[in-house]
């Protein structure tokens, strides 16, 4: 009987504990906060890896551009600049001296005044750290403080400094007081910006909470979120469930199948817009038979361009016209090659390979489904030409190491990579991917053409003073690359996010891929 009483007491205690613990479970995903109190984003990646604003050059650009600001912001639709920390700027006729007038009423998050000395300190630091995207400042000769609100920047050659100053990486202006504490201080999880949001708390690699900077020069009139949470939700299925249930307001990087499934969901919107991120394939131009232009052209005609857009990207990408994504200055008007197996056969015959008869190793990044599917589609077309194809999925690091093998024969015959600009200029593609390299780095077609090198260099120098001339030069460079069939232009990407229907004014600036300016969004 005593045991029975004990049992009943235990059972009651258990029920009590359980009801307490599970009490709050129902309605688990409902948002309790008021409309614009909180924005929650489920992100494929960790919110921040590198906290140093002069070094960071990876996934953290998403949140860093909300902590920090640049002098200008580029608006590609109008090819103009929005003043951010600079109110306006002028350049000398030779394009070698640029003068920036600074906003007067700005303070960093620690209360330090943002003035010309702080801007000079920041830009010098970004340049001299020689890490991250510091190379964007290579054209800069000297930065001078003219007065409290003005700086002069002199260049070695007339580069497009406005585009550099508007870059989403390594162009942040930071509080000298805080930055003096060094990289180790930043890496502890600290920021020193002027942006609309400041850091409230973070769990490294997992979650970050930003809260509004009350002193923000842009003010808080109108509709803005008070807090923003960015959480790493690595699993695709989890991100989808979170946005479907209304727990997350924004998720990124859902698989195409999920995007299609969510298209008709009344609670969410699949946001797409043009992006300057594209996918480009490279032939190994240093080995036979791919050193033969005719063979490369034949293989360019054999690529199933439309099928890749239709069946692999399922419409979430567009057909590229060349190296530079459509919509950006320097892009070609139309592609040089269409899928045409007859032309491909004719060119192979002309090159001395009427029945194909050669092997081709195609590498692609394992785990990226669209790369795999694209490679498989290409393989089936190449086999129609008698080319024996081996597909090899590899992690990026291993694929890149193979591509950099000292002996060109040891490298792959074809690979594809994704590329997007740091500074929004065609130089980002041409300098990195097609300019001759002494040691292999990102020119993974190993193509070397002195004439092309000269055009690329001339175009870069012209971009600061004569945009029209630079555009023409880049188009000429693009035409050479296309004609030489160094590359297959696989897709022009689209910026894709899945967002809660109530989220308004959501957009991604194509010049800033993977970056969101949360200050602009609100809920209704």
């Amino acid at each position: 009987m005593l045991l029975g009483k004990k049992r009943i007491a235990l059972l009651l205690a258990f029920v009590l504990v359980l009801s307490t613990v599970l009490g709050g479970c129902a309605g688990n995903s409902s948002q309790s906060s008021a409309k614009n109190d909180l924005l929650f984003m489920g992100s494929y990646t960790a919110p921040v890896i590198d906290w140093d604003p002069s070094i960071c050059y990876s996934v953290e650009s998403l949140v860093m551009n909300n902590f920090y600001e640049t002098l200008l912001r580029y608006e590609p639709s109008t090819d103009s600049f929005t003043p951010i920390l600079a109110t306006d700027y002028t350049k000398s006729e030779d394009g070698l001296t640029w003068t920036f007038n600074l906003r007067h009423d700005v303070k960093f998050h620690d209360g330090t005044v943002m003035d010309a000395a702080a801007v000079k300190y920041s830009l010098d630091r970004n340049k001299d750290m020689n890490k991250g995207a510091s190379f964007i400042w290579a054209p800069v000769n000297e930065i001078k403080v003219v007065d409290e609100d003005t700086i002069d920047i002199t260049l070695k050659y007339p580069a497009a400094l406005d585009l550099i100053a508007a870059c989403g990486y390594s162009a942040f202006i930071m509080s000298p007081t805080l930055a003096e504490q060094g990289t180790d201080w930043f890496q502890l999880g600290n920021e020193a910006g002027t942006g609309p949001y400041k850091l409230e708390s973070q769990v490294p690699g997992d979650q970050l909470i930003m809260t509004q900077n009350e002193e923000y020069w842009g003010g808080w009139d109108g509709k803005h979120f008070k807090k923003v949470v960015v959480k790493n939700v690595g699993e695709n299925a989890s991100r989808r469930q979170m946005v479907e249930n209304g727990e997350a307001d924004i998720v990124n990087s859902l698989q195409v199948e999920d995007l299609i499934a969510l298209k008709d969901n009344p609670n969410v919107t699949v946001y797409t817009s043009s992006s300057y991120a594209n996918t480009i394939g490279f032939f190994n131009t240093k080995v036979k038979p791919f050193d033969n232009k005719l063979v490369r052209q034949a293989l360019a005609y054999a690529f199933p361009y439309d099928d890749v857009i239709k069946y692999v990207a399922q419409g979430y990408a567009t057909r590229p016209t060349g190296v530079i994504p459509q919509g950006m200055w320097g892009a070609l008007d139309k592609p040089l090659y269409e899928y045409d197996l007859e032309k491909a056969k004719a060119l192979l015959t002309e090159a001395g390979y009427p029945d194909g008869g050669f092997d081709m190793l195609i590498t692609y990044i394992s785990g990226v489904e669209d790369r795999k599917k694209t490679a498989e589609l290409y393989k089936s077309e190449l086999e129609k030409l008698g080319v024996k194809v081996e597909l090899r999925g590899m992690p990026w690091d291993q694929m890149w190491e193979l591509a950099k093998s000292p002996n060109p024969e040891d490298r792959q015959d074809y690979l594809s990579i994704a590329w997007w600009p740091d500074v929004v200029t065609p130089a980002s593609w041409f300098q990195s991917l097609y300019h001759s390299e002494k040691d292999v780095f990102f020119n993974l077609g190993y193509y070397s053409n002195p004439k092309l090198d000269t055009i690329i260099e001339e175009a870069d120098k012209a971009s600061g003073i004569d945009r029209a001339k630079a555009t023409e030069l880049y188009k000429e460079a693009g035409t050479i690359v296309a004609d030489e069939a160094v590359s297959i232009f696989v897709t022009d990407g689209k910026s894709i996010y899945t967002i809660n229907k109530s989220l308004k004014n959501f957009s991604e600036n194509p010049a800033y891929p993977y970056i969101l300016f949360f200050y602009d969004f609100y809920k209704e």
Partner: protein, 326 residues
């Protein structure tokens, strides 16, 4: 002996991470670093030195508790481990506790009702529990309890609302414990709710294992002469089962449980990723994908130390049984 095993683990891991075709300097320098930046990073990380020297440096630093810098998080690996280990240990301990609470009674009742319907159902459950892949169970639980029922959270350690409260206690790193001793029941409740699904997923394997081990040990013991003698003295069946028989069956069960903790640690690799649990499993999964070799080596050494400690505990448990003479 343990030291030799540890050195072997360190050496093999070091060799493997150097054999894998990857350039840690390029990773450290950043996605689009210039060749000059990569060369500077190579010197900064000491990768320009010969392999034997690199290994000697690594071991010297290891002895001083320095595991190097993670190429992915840019933090000292030791700091990362300190941040992520408590979440995993808490999850594994709770899952093990659940396994004991469910597995032992299941095994006892199964033995008591040998070859009857309860025993068949229990054995079916036990085999199912050890056979079903953890990632499948995790996804199924998420689908049912989050998507369909909207009853339990999808993942993470606490809800966003709790995070925003900004007063999450961090004394030991064990959130349930910390929230209890600070009297913060709201955080305790939230943390417990977030633990339920990953805990069940991880606990299923040890539940099956404990149930099966308890059953077989109990069956063996229930056939012993002293049990027959106790029955003949008129002792209640409950007392015989739960006190006299269970006490003698706990030795092998404890050994299995101790060793299964090692397996449970490994199973967190996938489960933590799925449940977005900020622990060592998720940390190492991300590190493996990124070929972050200092982090991989750090976690491998931690895992080896755990296995060694668990083996030692298992040996001690066995040695406590007077029937065993080591």
């Amino acid at each position: 002996m343990s030291l030799i095993v540890l050195m072997g683990v360190v050496f093999i891991t070091f060799v493997i991470t150097r054999v894998v075709p990857s350039d840690p300097a390029a990773k450290w320098a950043g996605a689009r670093a210039t060749p000059q930046q990569v060369a500077a990073a190579r010197i900064e990380l000491g990768l320009d030195k010969p392999y034997p020297e690199q290994f000697a440096n690594y071991v010297t630093n290891l002895v001083q508790g320095n595991l190097g810098y993670s190429l992915r998080t840019r933090n000292p690996v030791m700091n990362d481990l300190k941040v992520f280990i408590p979440a995993t240990v808490e999850l594994v301990l709770m899952a093990t506790l659940l396994a004991l609470v469910i597995g032992i009674p299941l095994g006892i009742y199964s033995a008591k009702h040998k070859n009857r319907i309860f025993d068949h159902v229990s054995r079916f459950f036990s085999i199912g529990a050890v056979s079903l892949p953890g990632f499948w169970i995790a996804l199924a639980l998420q689908l049912v309890f989050y998507s369909y029922l909207d009853f339990l959270p999808l993942g993470g350690r606490v809800s966003i609302e709790t995070s925003l409260m900004g007063n999450i206690p961090n004394i030991t790193g064990f959130l349930l414990f910390d929230s209890l001793i600070t009297g913060n029941l709201v955080i305790f409740q939230d943390a417990f709710r977030h633990m339920i699904l990953p805990m069940i997923t991880i606990a299923l394997y040890p539940i099956g294992l404990v149930a099966r081990m308890t059953r077989s040990a109990m069956l063996e013991i229930l056939g012993e002469d002293y049990i027959t003698a106790e029955r003949s003295y008129g002792l209640s069946e409950r007392l015989i089962l739960w006190v006299y028989a269970l006490k003698n069956s706990l030795g092998p069960t404890s050994t299995v449980v101790t060793l299964s903790i090692g397996y449970t640690l490994m199973s967190t690799f996938l489960v933590e990723s799925i449940f977005n649990w900020p622990g060592i499993g998720k940390y190492v999964s991300n590190s493996i994908i990124a070929l972050d070799y200092p982090a991989i080596m750090g976690v491998t050494i931690f895992s080896a130390l755990c296995y060694m400690a668990l083996n030692l505990i298992a040996d001690l448990i066995i040695s406590l049984d007077p029937r065993v003479r080591l």
